[in-house]
């Protein structure tokens, strides 16, 4: 086997080739050909490609479930089958592949035991993960009774039980509802912010685009493109200007100016809100009306052990401030709406806290709130003051979370 130097890389492949053979050992199909990859620490790496392009085969070789026909792999500088390597990996397969006769809690407990986690810590993580993926209320139901999306959620939870340094996810949002999808993407960002490495294989290009730093596009088992998302997607020969709505006269003027400069207006359109945002708002409202459901509820916050100690400590400060900011919200649970990406710039923790306090005071006094991102503001404002205050606090919590991630 070819020796692979790990250096700083989390995963390295050199000339990785996989040929599947038939019963008579005749080569049947070459799933992966001469693949050279390098996944670095703290990056979210995407594997893209159509069906049969070799994504899953590559992941299975990284996990030691398949053996390369040629070439070599190193994961954390070791062979993929090394048990010490597995201790640092979390894996969510394409199908959840969980035991249908176990319930959600037993499932997480079983996988937690495989990491030899102390009982107290294991149970703590199980509780937090169930809460995080929104299955705490149905944790007693057997996995076989879960919908596919719920199985994906518990599958994701089992992949995180060891707070992995490398998370490998194969079609992670397949079967998940938009709430779960959004939560998953938030989770990936959180993990990346904590220095974790994520390898993501997906057909859903939007998901990949949202969370990945670098992508590798496979076709026919070969690498077709490799690079940063921005590098691959930026269209250097075009410029897009976003402004408030222009009337026809203004548009004509702009067109005239551009033409006089030798440019051509290729497209003029009115942007639309994302369907994802609309969906999330409707579900959020239904949850606020306490509409009953036998399925998964919106997931909770990212589990504390996945957020890291610094953020957990900052979080407690924020929650204390939030509690002080609105006594009338006392006893009401924070809505579990998935947090959209905040638009504020990263700030030192003290400044963030100061801003949050000021924003909370402004909200209390009826003054202007903090500048909310456009995508984060529902089209219709809450009808009563209580809901308005609630949304302010939600923003505070989300922003505190984002601030903690940036530390």
């Amino acid at each position: 086997m070819v020796e692979v130097s790990a250096n700083e890389s989390v995963v390295v492949t050199r000339g990785l080739t996989k040929v599947f053979k038939d019963f008579w050992l005749r080569p049947k199909v070459t799933a992966v050909r001469e693949l050279d990859l390098q996944v670095f620490p703290r990056e979210v790496f995407g594997l893209l490609g159509p069906n049969g392009s070799g994504k899953s085969t590559t992941l299975k070789m990284v996990l030691g479930l398949l053996f390369p026909t040629k070439g070599a792999i190193a994961v954390f500088g070791r062979r993929p089958t090394d048990v010490r390597t597995k201790a640092r990996i979390g894996f969510l397969p394409e199908e959840s592949n969980l035991y249908p006769f176990l319930d959600a809690r037993e499932t997480l407990d079983f996988y937690g035991r495989l990491y030899s986690q102390p009982r107290h810590e294991r149970l703590r993580r199980v509780d937090m993960l169930l809460e995080m993926v929104g299955l705490a209320s149905v944790a007693h139901r057997r996995i076989g009774e879960y919908s596919k999306g719920m199985q994906r959620r518990i599958g994701l939870a089992q992949a995180l039980i060891n707070d992995p340094d490398l998370l490998i996810v194969d079609e992670p949002t397949s079967g998940m509802d938009p709430i779960g999808t959004r939560q998953f993407k938030d989770l990936i960002r959180t993990l990346a912010a904590r220095g974790k490495t994520v390898i993501l294989s997906s057909h859903l290009l939007g998901d990949v685009e949202d969370v990945c730093d670098r992508v590798c596009i496979l076709y026919g088992g070969r690498q077709q493109a490799l690079g940063g998302i921005d590098d691959l997607l930026s269209r250097e020969s075009f410029t897009q200007i976003t402004t408030d709505r222009l009337d026809d006269a203004m548009l004509a003027k702009v067109g005239h100016v551009l033409q006089s400069g030798g440019h051509e207006v290729l497209e003029v359109s009115t942007p639309r809100a994302k369907l994802e945002d609309l969906f999330l708002r409707i579900v959020h409202e239904a949850q606020q009306r306490r509409v009953t459901t036998g399925g998964a509820v919106a997931g909770g916050e990212v589990a504390e052990f996945l957020r890291g100690p610094e953020e957990a400590a900052g979080r407690e400060v924020i929650e204390g401030l939030v509690a002080a900011a609105g006594q009338d919200q006392a006893g009401e649970a924070a809505p579990a709406e998935p947090a959209p990406e905040p638009t504020v710039e990263p700030q030192p923790a003290a400044e963030v806290v100061g801003d949050l306090v000021r924003a909370a005071r402004d909200a209390d006094s009826g003054g202007e709130g903090p500048p909310a991102p456009a995508a984060d503001t529902p089209p219709e404002a809450p009808a009563n003051a209580r809901d308005a205050d609630r949304s302010v606090i939600d923003d505070l919590v989300r922003r505190a979370s984002a601030g903690g991630e940036d530390q």
């Binding site: 479930l65 048990v83 010490r84 990996i89 894996f91 006769f101 495989l114 030899s116």
Partner: protein, 548 residues
């Protein structure tokens, strides 16, 4: 070990929640509940209990063997088929730990079901034992207590030495010129060479001489000598009440519980308030004892009065099991025979007067332990009082005496079964490591069939190689079969022997050596070998590839 235990616990839960295990448990419970009412055996209570133990344990073993094999193949092969291994082996779990954990989990479940079934059988057997209405005669009760609910050591007499007799016969045939024609006749008849023909003639002569040496002509007697007989059973003690005293005849009748009556031997010794006497008759709740007239008038017995309670002590006994086969089957009357046991050291003689000997059926005599000499020797003499010769082969006569209790022996029998189940679990896990469920089942069924018929197959192939097929493709097939059987013999235990119920049914103690040998050969050697092979295959297997 943590990983092994985690997987074992998980497997145990998985098997418990599998409908297959539940279905078999229900079937087992139904079978055990029905058996006592439909099994009557030979009509006696001992026969009924023996039949129940035999069928109950056999049904339990067969059902559990099926459950264990099916589950052990399924827990591994289904994990691969359903791709559960994708998640499991993304965790820090070595594959060999997974294989051992799977084996341990299925074995634990098999052990649990076995404990439940064996516990049920034990309780039902005890229930049958307590049925006084099914054992009216004292000998029935005695058979239950001393031949079933006991653990006895079994000794066989020294084999008959017939070498001198064979040599004499061969020399005689050579002298009268019939030897060479006989050899040629054998060679032609069996299509073998002369050397093989001589071997076969000697073998036949040995059988003939052995049968002759173990046959007894009418009016003659046959002697068996046993060595190493050391009955160490405890003296049975109890209380009885005086019913009637015939002082001039030296006879006293006592009343006692049936359990005590069942221990008494007709014409055997008994101690009443430490005074020795001889049992002259027994019935369900009483017995009659003949005392020496001097003892009768001595102080202890002289003051006995009706309704007075006395202590009864019955010293250990030795049982003689035998099967007599008459030369003629058309006898108008039953076989008649008598026995005599002598202790040359003490001069003690125990006679069993003439009685009807069961024809070609196993029967039991009870002999006082006083008949055994100081060196552990025992000399039995059978008198043939029938008008035809009777054969009692040395393998059909044995001496048995209690060396332990039924409960401990039952546990040892259950442990033998547990070892068998553990081996089957190893076999199933081994199959599951590299085969799909249906193919693994097929392989295991074939291997189990071979295991249970190993002796027959070995003898058949041996015969074929020696006498039937001399050359050509047929011989090559036999040779391949012979080689395969050798491999199978190394890999597989003789389950038919390991799981036989004879020990318990015959009330024979399972020797610790036998238990240890089974543990070493079945578990330490064969199951470990299969598991090691399974681990090696599983370690080298690409789990993400579907294989059939």
């Amino acid at each position: 070990m943590g990983g092994i235990w985690t997987v074992a616990r998980h497997t145990f839960t998985q098997c418990l929640r599998t409908k297959v295990a539940g279905l078999f448990a229900v079937l087992l419970a139904a079978a055990l509940a029905l058996l006592p009412s439909i099994m009557e055996g030979d009509g006696t209570l001992a026969g009924r209990i023996r039949t129940f133990l035999d069928y109950g344990l056999t049904v339990t073993t067969v059902l559990l063997a099926l459950v264990v094999v099916l589950l052990s193949i399924g827990v591994v092969s289904d994990d691969v088929r359903d791709r559960h291994v994708f998640v499991v082996f993304s965790k820090p779990l070595a594959r060999w730990k997974y294989v051992l954990g799977r084996w341990l989990g299925v074995t634990m479940l098999g052990g649990l079901l076995l404990a439940g079934a064996c516990g049920g059988i034990y309780l039902l057997a005890q229930y049958l034992r307590s049925r006084t209405d099914l054992a009216v005669r004292p000998e029935d009760r005695r058979a239950v207590e001393t031949e079933v609910f006991t653990a006895r050591k079994q000794l066989f007499p020294r084999p008959v030495d017939v070498d001198a007799e064979i040599a004499r016969r061969v020399e005689q045939k050579k002298a009268d010129g019939t030897w060479q024609p006989l050899v040629q006749n054998y060679a032609e008849q069996y299509k073998i060479n002369e050397f093989q023909a001589v071997e076969k003639i000697v073998s036949d002569l040995r059988k003939d001489a052995a049968a002759a040496a173990q046959s007894v002509a009418p009016g003659r007697s046959l002697v068996w000598r046993f060595a190493g007989v050391y009955p160490a059973g405890e003296t049975v003690r109890g209380r009885a009440t005086v019913r009637q005293i015939a002082r001039p005849a030296g006879l006293i009748a006592f009343e006692c519980p049936p359990a005590l009556t069942g221990r008494l031997i007709i014409f055997g010794p008994v101690w009443v308030d430490s005074v020795a006497g001889r049992v002259m008759g027994t019935w369900n709740d009483g017995f009659r004892v003949l005392f020496n007239l001097e003892d009768m008038n001595a102080q202890r017995l002289a003051t006995l009065k009706p309704d007075q309670a006395v202590d009864v002590a019955i010293r250990p006994t030795v049982q003689v099991s035998y099967k007599a086969t008459p030369a003629r089957r058309d006898l108008p009357e039953p076989l008649r025979g008598a026995w005599k046991v002598e202790n040359p050291d003490s001069g003690y003689v125990y006679d069993i007067p003439p009685y009807d000997v069961p024809d070609n059926q196993r029967a039991t005599l009870i002999v006082p332990a006083e008949a055994v000499d100081k060196t552990g020797g025992l000399r039995l003499r059978y008198f043939n009082l029938s008008p035809t010769s009777v054969t009692i082969l040395s393998e059909d006569v044995s001496v048995l005496y209690a060396v332990g209790g039924f409960g401990a022996n039952y546990v040892k029998t259950a442990l033998l079964r547990l070892m068998g189940l553990a081996f089957l679990a190893a076999l199933g896990v081994f199959a599951g490591c590299w085969l799909s469920f249906p193919v693994g089942c097929l392989m295991c069924v074939v291997l189990l069939w071979i295991t249970t018929t190993l002796r027959f197959l070995t003898e058949s192939i041996q015969m074929g190689l020696e006498f039937e097929v001399k050359e050509g493709a047929g011989r090559a097939v036999y040779q391949i079969g012979h080689a395969m059987l050798l491999v199978v013999k190394v890999l597989l235990p003789d389950l038919a022997a390991t799981l036989e119920t004879d020990f318990l049914v015959e009330g024979v103690a399972v020797p610790w050596g036998y238990l240890g040998e089974s543990f070493a050969m079945t578990l330490l050697l064969r199951a470990t070998l299969l598991l090691a092979l399974g681990c090696w295959i599983f370690h080298r297997r690409e789990l993400a590839r579907v294989q059939v």
